[in-house]
Symmetry: C2
Subunit: 368 residues, 2 copies
């Protein structure tokens, strides 16, 4: 990452606050750059759309070249299917045992090429039962743990889950992993990317030996994407790269010039002790804060200011340097763009400091 | 707080997850109990409605007896005014200098008894200009810092702000403070309540001496409400008490039997190392976590489980004890109810384990 510049992109003169603002030029450049870089490695891109939840952004990703799209929830998949996207992977151990989920899964499966994650014998049985009698089998990827210790079986267990899936009438297309331990500290990404490759290689060898030829070996996150984009991995699932955020800056994945999303905020209080208050609290910029980022976000125009504490509608900043005037509108780079977008029903789109559009967040809050 | 019982309230058999579930019986008991306890102290209740953002809950608070309602944003005030509530205080240093805010303030002021916080000469001027020419003056309370060091002037500065407000054509009705440093650690509330009383007493004396007879001296938060409910304080503004949450349990403000809100979640993965995964991540239970709560929430049915790490759609729990089966639906008590409600468009209302209603969160996301 280069040194902190004085601004990311210009905000429109008249803007309500707090508002999520996306610069379309930086956004499109991020989308195209990543598609090209992944293509140069002959690895597919299946971007995670939970970051934007926005049809206009997903369409640009598709236009730049993808092998499919990733979603986190059935609700997100339903929103994208309704918008005409037809190749969707839910990278999640979907459980369809209750409350109409089986019917929703079946409807999606009949409508689009829907693929889901599986990491337990029980879920495999449920997924199979939900799609039994369909013209074709539901495709699954076995979720493998590569060190994050979240969901996912150890690579050695992948054949057991693949057999259960196959027995339940599912089509095992391969395996996936998420090296999210790349977020453990700012230097963890290269090793986490290696871990993804190692876990998927092990699972692939075992699945092949057992007769489950894996067509898809899917890895990835924004910090690990280029560390694991090599054989036998066939595709990567980064999400945040479309926007970037203070976490990605701290991880060295992006420069300030690559940050396409900020939250516009107004200075509502300013005190002689060096304290000033923004009207963007945890309900606007979210409370995500790993220990290795400094504060609750960044102010590119006031790089010395620390966003020290966050209430629901206040962000208290402290600085010993220059500070904004009361009433001034400032851009805040949030720590984690994905959760910020999920707080708003639409985003304001700007180009060269002018508002050019407003895009709905179609699957905001669709967590189930 | 009493020892951890095995459950809070029963969830309906068929429930989608993650879902915010409110037990109407506990909710109504909390509302009535607090109204009575405040009444017994002859202190008014002006509950903060940012917690629920829900007309059906606010109406129950009004029915139990209030001196008015508190909101955090103009958008929340507009939602409540549209629903027929006509005595609203925005406990926030509202800035109306740009983007149509002045018109929105003026419209609210003409429609309801709207009162706002002020803590700077600049904001006072803007508020006065926005409401100039109206039949009556806009009412303001001077925001005083009682130790949180967020917004608010020192008590000694209150007369300077009151004079600016008066000069700008505003009606100074008194002062308010928020002893949010009650959340600094589990034993901080009594002293923070004292700080509220001290700060408001100082401001009141100075305002009186300067001819601004304060009719309203407003304090409060759920943890400090009963510590500062004494003269000269005239009213309290607690919010979270309607639901309670893991923070309030840790602060000793509520017992498990008083928790009226949980997030229903499904166990989507379970591993022999003691790890299990819920489908309620930071987009469902929010990432708020003060250092003095243990984990990202509580599972009353599995009190030994620690909710150790949170992704957007995964909560990874660890236990050395009994743990739920895969597919089981469990109740999660979130750390901070106010931000959880802001993530959903509606809440599921239950009574004795049966779903009885679904209430919209009318001002979800209305941050400006």
């Amino acid at each position: 990452m280069s040194g902190m510049a004085s601004s990311t992109f210009d905000l429109p003169e008249q803007i309500d606050t707090p508002t999520v603002v996306v610069d379309i030029d930086i956004l499109e450049r991020n989308i195209i750059t990543w598609a090209r870089r992944m293509d140069a490695r002959s690895v597919g891109l299946r971007p995670h759309t939970k970051t934007s939840k926005c049809v206009q952004i997903v369409q640009r990703q598709v236009n730049a070249g993808v092998v499919g799209l990733t979603v986190a929830t059935l609700g997100e998949a339903e929103s994208l299917a309704a918008a005409g996207f037809d190749e969707l992977f839910q990278a999640y151990p979907l459980w369809v045992g209750h409350s109409g989920r089986a019917d929703r899964l079946r409807a999606l499966h009949e409508r689009v090429d829907f693929m889901v994650g599986v990491e337990s014998v029980e879920a495999a049985g449920m997924l199979g039962a939900a799609t039994r009698g369909s013209d074709r089998r539901l495709a699954v990827l076995i979720e493998v743990n590569s060190g994050l210790d979240r969901s996912g079986v150890e690579p050695e267990e992948s054949v057991r889950i693949a057999r259960a899936a196959s027995d339940a009438g599912l089509e095992v297309r391969g395996a996936f992993t998420f090296g999210g331990h790349a977020y453990a500290d700012p230097r963890a990404a290269p090793a986490a990317g290696d871990d993804e490759v190692i876990a998927l290689s092990k699972a692939a060898a075992l699945l092949s030996d057992a007769g489950f030829e894996p067509k898809i070996l899917s890895a990835g996150s924004t910090p690990t994407a280029f560390h694991s984009a090599r054989p036998p991995v066939t595709e990567e699932r980064p999400g945040t790269y479309v926007f970037n955020d203070a976490q990605q800056l701290a991880l060295g994945v992006a420069d300030l010039a690559d940050v396409a999303l900020v939250v516009a905020a107004t200075v509502v209080a300013s005190h002689p002790d060096g304290r000033f208050v923004l009207d963007a609290g945890s309900k606007a910029i979210a409370a995500d804060k790993p220990p290795w980022v400094n504060g609750h976000g960044l102010l590119p125009a006031y790089p010395e200011a620390e966003l020290r504490s966050l209430s629901e509608h206040h962000c208290v900043c402290w600085t010993t340097g220059r500070r904004p005037a009361i009433g001034e509108v400032v851009a805040v780079i949030p720590n984690h763009a994905c959760v910020v977008v999920n707080l708003v029903d639409s985003i304001t789109v700007v180009s060269r400091g002018q508002m050019v559009d407003r895009w709905p967040i179609v699957s905001r809050g669709r967590n189930s």
